[in-house]
């Protein structure tokens, strides 16, 4: 093994945190010019491993060989100098400064008076951007870029360090398909220059598309490595989960009842125009479309987060005047927001408070004081019901994995006993096992007669779960289709890209 030409060898890496053994002796071998995927459910240890590699953590034990030498006790800036760069899951650019200052932050070229040489910085930035075929003026402010572009700038920065190994932790979670393809082109280009890339993603189709080799981890242990072209999806999932996930989308037919929610000509001054649809009891209505097509804004407007500029919302046939989330909650609506960190969890607060916050009045006695026991019992009941893995109700939510954070949020909303649930990207960034659990739960809720509106950018998910699908394009509904057996992704995409229009036909049906 060791005769092989590896740029990176991590051997028997152990990493413990107080009370948690995150890595229990795992290996990773990466060759130069290879795109190497790390796979595993949330909490499997991928992120911890790459953090050990990038110098963010020091491993408790184990050896790291990089570029022919054993490397010990280094920090992130030393890692960068060695040639290991990491593109983080959550970017942290200096937003109100230009691209070039972001690239050369902390190592700005100086002129002979010791002042920053902006001209030289500009030239150098242009050269680096050209290397990855990115056409953007280095003087543009970071704040003016899309998330995708910011990510490309991070890659440019990695290139500027002349990195031999670039780690990308879920770089595509916020990108559109087109942007993902751009990213892949850049990755392939870097590969052809002999650079190695470690790629972490939950999207299996991407892994097949772009990677050469896969290493799978589970519960902090090394499970195995395979060449990507010699492994099947089933095998991959099996290695990750340790069991077969038989039904990815366990849609069961359930009786569909009365119209519960009806939206007529809903408009927002900036985001969308003339959106009309209805959801019945027991129905799952999927919302498809490209990122930026206005899906999220539609449901956030119904929920009272944004102010509508026109149109009506009817609940049970009665016009509902909703101007704040409180109004929506009072009408038995619930919203699982798209961005868990931004508008979902309270990171440093305990699981308990995260669960009850939409529901505190239910736990008050006649003096307005909280009934501790009832609160605790209810939380425990919901922890069981949605299967949250947490050592205690007092655990800070930020210490749970992404999937478990999402389950805590699901519990928060189920506690309000909603009749209409809006789920915005309910499984984004969540591992396969948890994903299936959430799908099962959603189907069960529909079976109980709840109306569900689910926004998802993953077409297989929308097609697997929904009874009907609303497709949006640039702020307008371009199609509402019955989820037939012969419905194809291509058909949905033709609505999503605005090349077909089929609202009228089906609405009048």
């Amino acid at each position: 093994m060791s005769e092989e030409n590896y740029i990176l060898q991590m051997k028997n890496i152990v990493k413990t945190f107080p009370g948690v053994k995150a890595l229990r002796g795992v290996d990773l071998n990466v060759r130069p010019g290879e795109i190497h995927a790390l796979l595993g459910e949330n909490g499997a240890g991928k992120s911890t491993l790459v953090k050990c590699l990038a110098g963010i953590h020091n491993p408790t034990s184990g050896e790291i060989f990089f570029d022919g030498e054993i490397r010990e006790n280094y920090n992130t800036s030393q890692a960068l100098k060695m040639g290991i760069a990491m593109i983080h899951q959550e970017l942290s650019p200096v937003l109100h400064r230009p691209i070039m200052e972001n690239i050369w932050l902390g190592r700005e070229p100086l002129n002979r008076f010791g002042l920053v040489d902006h001209q030289k910085m500009y030239e150098m930035s242009k050269a680096v951007l050209k290397e990855i075929d990115l056409k953007v003026d280095p003087r543009t402010l970071m704040a003016d870029l899309t998330v995708a572009k910011m990510q490309m700038i991070e890659i440019a920065k990695a290139v500027s360090y002349d990195s031999k190994l670039i780690v990308m932790d879920e770089p595509t979670s916020a990108l559109t398909d087109k942007e993902v393809n751009q990213l892949f082109t850049i990755m392939r280009k870097l590969k052809s220059q002999g650079k190695a890339i470690i790629y972490i993603s939950h999207k299996l189709d991407e892994i097949f598309k772009v990677t050469d080799r896969v290493t799978v981890y589970r519960d902090g242990q090394y499970i195995g490595s395979e060449d990507t072209d010699k492994i099947t999806v089933e095998k991959m999932i099996n290695m990750m989960v340790g069991r077969d996930v038989d039904e990815m989308f366990p849609k069961v037919e359930c009786p569909i009842g009365e119209v519960k929610l009806e939206v007529k000509n809903l408009s927002h001054s900036r985001f969308f125009t003339d959106v009309s649809f209805s959801v019945r009891r027991g129905e799952i209505l999927g919302f498809a479309g490209l990122v930026g097509s206005g899906r999220t804004e539609v449901i956030e407007t119904i929920f009272g987060i944004h102010k509508k500029s026109g149109g009506t919302i009817l609940v049970d046939g009665v016009e509902a005047d909703i101007t704040s989330p409180r109004d929506a909650i009072a009408r038995k609506m619930a919203l699982l927001t798209e961005d868990r960190r931004h508008s979902g969890i309270f990171p440093m607060l305990p699981v308990r408070l995260n669960m009850i916050i939409a529901n505190v009045p239910k736990f008050l006695n006649k003096f307005g004081l909280i009934k501790e026991k009832e609160l605790k019992d209810t939380c425990n009941e919901y922890v069981k019901r949605v299967q949250v893995k947490t050592p205690s109700l007092m655990q800070k939510v930020e210490n749970l994995s992404g999937g478990n954070q999402q389950k805590v949020l699901v519990a928060r909303w189920l506690m309000t006993q909603p009749e209409i649930l809006f789920l915005d990207e309910p499984t984004r960034g969540i591992d396969v096992g948890t994903k299936a659990e959430i799908h099962k739960l959603v189907t069960k809720l529909a079976g109980e007669g709840k109306s569900i509106v689910m926004v998802s950018s993953e077409l297989p998910e929308v097609m697997g779960m929904s009874d009907r699908i609303v497709v949006m394009h640039e702020g307008r509904v371009t199609g509402i289709v019955e989820n037939r057996k012969d419905l194809t992704q291509e058909e949905l995409m033709s609505y999503a890209t605005g090349t077909a229009h089929a609202v009228q036909a089906l609405e009048n049906k």
């Binding site: 945190f17 107080p18 009370g19 948690v20 909490g43 519960d219 929920f303 987060i305 704040s324 989330p325 409180r326 929506a328 909650i329 919203l335 927001t337 931004h342 508008s343 979902g344 969890i345 309270f346 990171p347 440093m348 607060l349 699981v351 408070l353 009850i356 916050i357 939409a358 505190v360 009045p361 008050l364 307005g368 004081l369 909280i370 605790k376 939380c379 425990n380 922890v383 069981k384 299967q387 949250v388 893995k389 947490t390 050592p391 205690s392 109700l393 007092m394 210490n399 749970l400 928060r412």
Partner: protein, 334 residues
């Protein structure tokens, strides 16, 4: 992190306890050290002395705990104390006072100045809260404005002169029950209990943590953020008004320049007690311990005969060190 279920018990871990209650150990060490160096420190009268000295800024620190947990700040409490204090004192003057404010009203029952102080305090705080909630200007700016306005109003109201010769029932509030237990300390302890219940046992309390923890998520979860913000600052102002009553009782007069800089002492006490300025974290118990650390230090340094100027230097160092310890506690996981 991986066992299912949610048992409430936590493993006993000495390091964990030391980190969690670090500042309590600091306080205990200070008390032990001082009582060895100066046995008079532990006398009953001195202990009550320390508690009394801490009661005014201690009461304000309770309100600031609410404010800081919600990721805000209230710079106005010192000035609000002065404004509420001069108005309360003017309503609580004895008939013998020279230049009495309301001669035609005679001597009023003590409840009048008390309610006036509480009302003015809550109103000033409420206005700050309203501005923060409705215009979303930073709390620092809103309360900086209120700090200046309230001080100005106190000066206008009094033409810059102290208000003195108060009725005995008001100065009694600065006295002692059975000649032993100081009334300011009793008021302080009652407010600790009330604040603690409010913060831990009510919907208001849960909402405060949620707003400080993630204001967007709080809004989406149906928390009425505006109403709660107004409530938070009104409570902080109310406690400043109560502190004004205690101040009037203890000093026997209120000067429009009174309590200058008290807001910073109160903020320091809250911060030393582990309430995080990044929001969502903090306890009433911590605010009490923080106030004690400051009061014990001041009292101890005086007993030891340390120069008053050096006391200030020491105080500054302690505040910063306490926050460094506290940040380490919160940052240990990364």
């Amino acid at each position: 992190m991986s066992n299912t279920g949610a048992s409430e018990k936590q493993s006993i871990d000495v390091k964990h306890i030391l980190q969690k209650y670090g500042i309590v150990f600091v306080l205990i060490l200070m008390i032990i050290g001082l009582s060895i160096a100066e046995p008079a420190f532990l006398s009953q009268s001195n202990i009550f002395n320390v508690l009394t000295q801490s009661s005014i800024f201690g009461i304000m620190a309770l309100g600031l705990t609410f404010v800081i947990i919600s990721k805000g700040i209230d710079l106005s409490v010192g000035s609000v104390l002065a404004f509420a204090g001069v108005v309360a004192a003017s309503l609580g003057q004895a008939a013998t006072a020279t230049g009495k404010y309301f001669p035609q009203l005679g001597e009023m029952p003590v409840i009048v100045p008390i309610l006036a102080a509480l009302a003015i305090g809550a109103l000033c705080g409420g206005v700050s809260g309203f501005l923060i909630a409705k215009t979303r200007i930073p709390a620092f700016i809103a309360t900086l404005g209120m700090m200046t306005v309230a001080r100005g109003l106190a000066l206008i109201y009094t033409s810059g002169k102290p208000v003195s010769t108060l009725i005995p029932s008001l100065t009694l509030l600065g006295g002692k029950v059975f000649n032993v237990i100081p009334i300011p300390v009793i008021i302080y302890f009652i407010m600790i209990v009330i604040s603690s219940v409010l913060l831990n046992k009510t919907r208001f309390g849960k909402n405060i943590y949620a707003i400080g923890g993630n204001i967007t998520a709080a809004e989406v979860s149906g928390v009425n953020v505006s109403k709660n913000l107004i409530g938070i600052y009104a409570y902080s102002g109310l406690l400043a008004g109560l502190a004004a009553v205690v101040f009037a009782g203890r000093v026997g007069s209120v000067h429009p320049g009174a309590a200058t800089g008290y807001e910073l002492t109160a903020i320091a006490a809250t911060t030393i007690g582990g309430t995080s300025h990044s929001g969502g974290i903090g306890t009433i118990w911590g605010a009490f311990v923080g106030a004690m650390v400051l009061a014990v230090m001041r009292n101890g340094l005086t007993l030891l005969g340390v120069d008053a100027y050096w006391q200030q230097v020491t105080e500054g160092v302690i505040i910063v060190v306490a926050v460094i310890i506290d940040m380490r506690k919160n940052a240990k996981k990364n």
